[in-house]
């Protein structure tokens, strides 16, 4: 055992001086949400940092839909799940096909399509929301889950195509040539050579699209409005409509809503960090 030198202690102290505020800053809103979820109403509204009587009763109320604002909780949870998974699956299908076509088959005009997609990626989604809302009305899709699924696919695909194209450009051409030499058709090439090699990127992109759709608020609240077909974030926003909102239940529902994406994110973190941050910004 060697005692640390004064300089090392000083260094460590400096790092802690940064680390502690960072920890507090990060945790405050999340802890506050958690605190409300385990507090009875009186404790929550009295500004305590830990409730006198921590309880899971709020979760009971949410799960058994025992409040006016929560009467459709499970169906809204289901809506969120279906829309997120459908948007994820559809994005994955469209983007993989497009990336394969542009990167491996060198389809004429592929570069042009890539640039259009990239352009869409940079247009802020909130700006597209206004014309998209009207368009969905024209298509007769308002209040239909397909409107939100298709909107999410539209927003997720450009980035998905771009990341998948970058990844597939890195696969050696010789692989394709060897497979074609052995008599593989284009579809076999896609299914047996391309898809298995792209798996890590596909996981990253699928996760990205599912989380994007699960977390979406703006489009969901524009495109869906019936209590039984809205998603959870819209339901959370609707709590604000009343002056005496049950905030402890709002925070409990929010906590439940936030858990699946956080779990998915941490479960697929190694794909996400490798697959997405590398693609997000190329230096």
């Amino acid at each position: 055992m060697k005692l640390p030198t004064l300089r090392e202690v000083g260094n460590e102290a400096k790092l802690l001086l940064i680390g502690i505020p960072v920890f507090i800053w990060t945790m405050i809103p999340i802890y506050h949400m958690f605190l409300f979820a385990i507090s009875p109403k009186e404790d929550a509204f009295s500004g305590k940092l830990w409730p006198d009587h921590p309880t899971l009763h709020n979760f009971h109320i949410v799960f058994y839909q025992e409040h006016y604002f929560l009467r459709d909780f499970w169906i809204q949870f289901w809506n969120s799940t279906v829309i997120a998974l459908a948007a994820g699956g559809l994005t994955l299908f469209i983007a993989t096909a497009a990336a394969f076509s542009i990167s491996r088959l060198k389809v004429p005009g592929g570069r042009w399509v890539m640039n259009l997609a990239l352009f869409t990626y940079f247009i802020p989604a909130a700006f597209l929301a206004v014309p998209m809302y009207r368009t969905m009305g024209n298509y007769g899709l308002l209040n239909n889950h397909w409107s939100l699924i298709l909107a999410m696919v539209t927003i997720a695909s450009p980035y998905a195509i771009w990341v998948l194209k970058q990844a597939s450009d890195k696969l050696p051409v010789e692989l394709d040539e060897a497979a074609v030499m052995d008599g593989a058709t284009t579809l076999q090439l896609f299914r047996l050579v391309y898809l298995p090699l792209m798996m890590p990127s596909l996981v990253a992109i699928g996760t990205y699209a599912v989380l994007l759709a699960w977390n979406e608020y703006l489009y969901a609240f524009l495109l869906l409005s019936k209590d039984t077909n809205i998603t959870l974030p819209v339901a959370l926003g609707n709590f604000l409509a009343a002056d005496d909102s049950p905030w402890e239940l709002l925070m409990t529902t929010g906590f439940i809503y936030a858990l699946p994406p956080a779990a998915v994110y941490y479960a697929f973190k190694r794909y996400m960090v490798g697959g997405l941050t590398a693609g997000a910004v190329k230096s």
């Binding site: 800053w25 506050h32 500004g47 096909a97 389809v107 247009i123 700006f127 959370l236 809503y257």
Partner: protein, 290 residues
């Protein structure tokens, strides 16, 4: 050459299908789903929107709407001040998180939480903390000073600052993560050499870190600015544009007009933002589509 050229060019081009190889036909088939989505949900809405916003009267109405002027100023404050502060913090923290310590590794796992959880519940959580009567912040102020705390979200300047704070809270981890990857890509022997030469902390940053991260940093800042133009949640869920519609930004203003059934005004407010957006987008496209 002369021999091989003989026939080909005299004959008129054969129909498209026979000129394409089977692989190219498949290429078009596989590209079709995205093209359909693009045409139906990007091209058509954008053209339709531009058509709706065609009348010059819309722009006169916008120009005369004080809420629009305020929203434009707020958007600029959000972008110019908010984003630069965020990126500077991210640059600073990327240095912190690049340190090799076990506890810093664990902290970085926690630090990413705001990015990993959906923004709606956390923004609403902040909103309640700032509640003047029931929020925890004013409770603490009262218990320490015996005075009532301020009515946070009722002051437009404070409310907008809080919205920027919420935005920073949410997206700081993402940009820090990107800048960490940039920092880790710098060869370590450069720092060791500088250490031997007795370089100070600032000299190491100024002459090694910054030159190699400059491009990444500028790209990130511009990209963050473009995306922040579309940050609807931070403002809408925290302040709702209030008090008295003084904290709107362009993205919430468009939705406000939409909810008031003034669709052409909503589109016009977006068209007006294009001179700001398009140069940024053009610049980013040039950087990324290589």
């Amino acid at each position: 050459m002369a021999i091989t050229l003989s026939g080909d060019q005299a004959i008129p081009a054969p129909p498209l299908s026979s000129r394409l190889t089977p692989a190219q036909v498949w290429g078009i088939v596989l590209l079709a789903p995205y093209l359909l989505v693009f045409l139906a949900f990007v091209v058509y809405p954008v053209c339709y929107g531009l058509w709706l916003a065609r009348a010059p009267a819309n722009y006169v109405a916008l120009y005369n709407d004080p809420i629009f002027a305020r929203a434009a100023v707020n958007t600029l404050i959000f972008l110019v001040i908010g984003i630069n502060i965020k990126m500077l913090i991210a640059l600073f923290l990327s240095g912190f998180f690049a340190q090799q310590r076990t506890w810093i590794k664990w902290l970085s796992v926690i630090f990413i939480l705001p990015w990993a959880v959906p923004s709606i519940p956390t923004i609403l959580s902040v909103r309640f903390m700032l509640n003047p009567e029931w929020g925890v912040i004013n409770h603490l102020i009262f218990s320490f000073t015996g005075d009532d705390g301020p009515n946070w979200l009722n002051d437009p300047t404070v409310a907008l600052t809080m919205a920027i704070g919420v935005h920073i809270w949410k997206s700081l981890p993402f940009w820090t993560l990107i800048l960490i990857t940039g920092r880790l890509a710098i060869p370590h022997d450069l720092f060791e050499a500088a250490e031997v030469d007795g370089a100070s902390w600032w000299q190491k940053f100024r002459f090694i870190t910054w030159p190699s991260m400059q491009t990444l940093y500028v790209t990130c800042t511009l990209l963050s600015m473009i995306w922040t133009l579309g940050d609807f949640n931070s403002v809408y869920l925290l302040t709702g544009g209030g008090p008295a519609d003084l904290t709107h930004v362009l993205s919430t203003l468009g939705i406000r007009y939409l909810r008031l059934d003034q669709l052409s005004l909503a589109m016009a407010s977006i068209v007006v933002a294009m001179p700001l957006v398009l140069p940024l987008v053009y610049f980013m496209m040039k950087r990324l589509s290589r």
